[in-house]
Amino acid sequence: MIAESCSLLTAAALEDDDRVFEMGDYQGPIARWCSGCGDHSVLTASQRLMTENQLKPETTVFVSGIGCSSRFPHYMKTYGFHGIHGRALPVATGVKLTRPDLDVFVVMGDGDCVSIGAGHWIHAIRYNLDMVALLLDNNIYGLTKKQTSPTTPQGYKSNTQPRGSYLPPMNPLETTLGVTNASFVAQTAEWVPAHLFATLKAAYEHRGFAFVRILQRCPHFTPDIYGEVVKDPDRIELLQHPEGIQAEGLDKIYTNQIRHDPADLHHARELAEDSSAIRLGLFFRDESRPRYEETRALPKYTARQKIDILNEEFERYAV
């Protein structure tokens, strides 16, 4: 078809375009998050990642749900999809299944991913589509003004549980590592920019569903949850391994380190479960896991060919 060959030509022409992208080429309008919000760090790290990997703005799609962090796509100069609460992953699945050529990033908050969208989260891990899924976890509902989220620490007071959260929080790492076909699970923190950037980069370069939980402070509603941790690097334990996250210049500050081979799922689960330290790093990676879009990659046909096949199909029903 003429239109088809046209678009292929356009795509081919763009392949060897000589554009060089700088940070500013990925920056949308000034973000309207509170000052001190962890979302700012993630936005900057993402723009830096795009610059470093020279991603094309037009073939990059940021998909989000609803919540403070879900405003994210609006502040990127790429394609963006600001959808509905909890449902970023199905939208992203549709995008990637249809257009494996696009780079897809999913930005979710803890209410979005771990609560209302939990079902989609579990299944997206299993589908293992090649995309980056960021959980911006500040342990609270911010946009709707301080309601308990599934990751709110036990006893932490909110407007819906003013006498303190009743139950132990859900641990997104444990959950993710428990899902069959998980292929990339990492944790990082917005206040460690070098680690955050290195983690995003590893996630982007992973072929499969890269799940990154980003520990965040909400300066308005949960400034205290990680307040002490930010001041005291010893409360953090870095996962170290040649196959893990390689962030420059952290060794002197974060002396508390543990060797962990990201191929070792059992050890990863043990580390995720153990609450004695806050661990940053790559818990698990396995690129050999089947990717859904690959299993569903089907040959493309012209309209003429489709008509021929359909006519053959009609033979089954012919009277």
Binding site: M1, E4, C6, S7, T10, A11, L14, G28, K56, P57, E58, T59, V61, F62, V63, I66, H74, M76, K77, T78, Y79, G80, F81, H82, G83, I84, R87, L89, P90, V91, T93, G94, V95, K96, L97, T98, R99, D101, L102, G119, H120, H123, R296, L298, P299, K300, Y301, A303, R304, K306, I307, I309, L310, N311, E313, F314, R316, Y317, A318, V319
Partner: protein, 635 residues
Amino acid sequence: MAMKLPTLDAEASTGKDVHVHRVTDHSVEVVSDSGEGAQKCGQIFGSVSAKMGNGVWTVEIIPAEVEPPPRNPAGASGIRIRLGDREVTNWGDETNLVVAFNEQALLGRHELNALAHDATILVESMWATHPNPDVRAEWDAAMEVLSEKDYRIIQVPMEEQCLTVVDNPRKGKNMFALGMLCWIFDRDLEKAKDQIAYTFRKKKQEITDRNVELLQLGYAWAEANLDFRYDIPTMKDDVPKVVMNGNDAIALGAVAAGLELAAMYPITPATSVSHMLGEVFDNYGGVLHQAEDEIAAAGVAIGSSYAGKCAFTITSGPGLALKTEFLGLATMTEIPLVLVDVQRGGPSTGLPTKVEQSDLLAAIFGQPGDAPHVVLAPATIEECFTIMATARRIAESLRTVVMVLSDANLATGVAPFARPQLSEASYPAPPDQRPIPEGLRPYDWDPKTGLSRRFIPGQPGGEHTVTGLAHDERSKVAYDAASVQRSHDMRSRKIAAFQNTLLPPEINGDPEGGELLLVGWGSTKGAIEEAVERGRREGLSVSSTHLTFLSPLPPGLKEIFGRFKKVMTVEINYSDKPGDPFINEQNRRRGQLSWLLRASTLVDVDCWTRVLGEPLRPAKILQAIRENMPNGGAA
């Protein structure tokens, strides 16, 4: 006990004096316990009859459970096949000939008033002499009940006969029954054999051979023992035809429409669309995505459409409810989406396998916030095929949600229709990847039409974020009064512009007008038109019109209604009947289409609706016509 002797009379068993009845319209049922293959028998019989040139409509009788307890009237499973000497557009009224594998399934059909008072019944004889006295007692009790009517009951030793060929007659009676039907209706045995071979093509050859043997056995038994046959004239036309059910037609229609991704979650009675797609979609480079839930299915389809290829999702009432928020999002972001709702009885889980047309208002108005979109309903199995291309084109050109309301009647009804002519023009172009000209904005609404050009990821210069929040032309979040009003206007205007291109519906009967006009939508068309035709033959001044577009409604309705003394919708959904306790003109809850028509035309549109868990019968509609004729109905 006064009951008709359910035995073969001597005359019948000689097979010598066969009476051939000439009929133009005949309905046959095969009923059994679940899993005994009655449906397969009926499907093959229907296909063979269609191939011979009869009009055919088959509809499955499906219990809600996969395998309900055996020998239970409520668990009757089977199929009805209506044959005609002309095109058959609906399942008809009552069944004239029944093949029953046990008397309890038969009793179930009797209790539903499915059988004509003088129906001929061929029933498995083994239960009458069963070693278990309880079974024999059940048989006797059933025969007592059945003797209320003038049925002619003939006992047939199906089990005994089948055991001469197979060890497990549960797996063979259906083909024996097919053999009997083939003799009774003088069907071409070669065509039946071909159809058996086709049906079992994925199984071992010996399965086909065994089934052909059973077919011949049934044929020979009928020839030797039965004293009646039916001669039903066939039509000869050269139009090549295909025969399938409405769900298969939707699936193949979607392929022909160039839809490349279907996202769904299993739900009766919609699921068989995806069975068909699961089988054939890969062949065309299409993707059938079985999502983790109904909501995700909508989300995946929307993501796919956003990425440049119009996708669709398939569901039924409960699933439509779950998808609601996403439908609002697609409307707000102006992302094309086709949604197929194969309606079933409701509310809630309702009647999963049975028909209702109760989702109309939910489909049109069910999304919180003002969410204008398009709602269509196919009226025939052929339209199930063609409507998918229409739906895709509307969805893409209007950047809108298009809902297609089919129902369980079309989903399971099987009828032949003219083989579709396919054209390359019906396929969409691949996603536009050309650069976006500078200055163009993602919602550059044309104030005259509300339409705007869609940007697709991959197009350089078109980068923007779509959002479910209120937004302006640049897709920027905008809560100011002017932007909010304007975007509402534009989303509504494109629907109005589209409505302006529609034609008034055609009148079946007398376009000049008359006493009574019936208005229908969806799968009831065949039954309504048949009733109108019979009424007109009786001299009644009745006509009908049928709406494909439910939202927006086509133009000219008020003017058309003005030509008739009385206008009444005929629907398979609930309405209070005049005279019901507490009910008066003001508080009466009405049929869903009649609400819509009253609101949009200010004409006093009455309604006649039934929710019986079955398609409407032409005879019942005819009765309603007679009862609702103004001035007694003289033409």
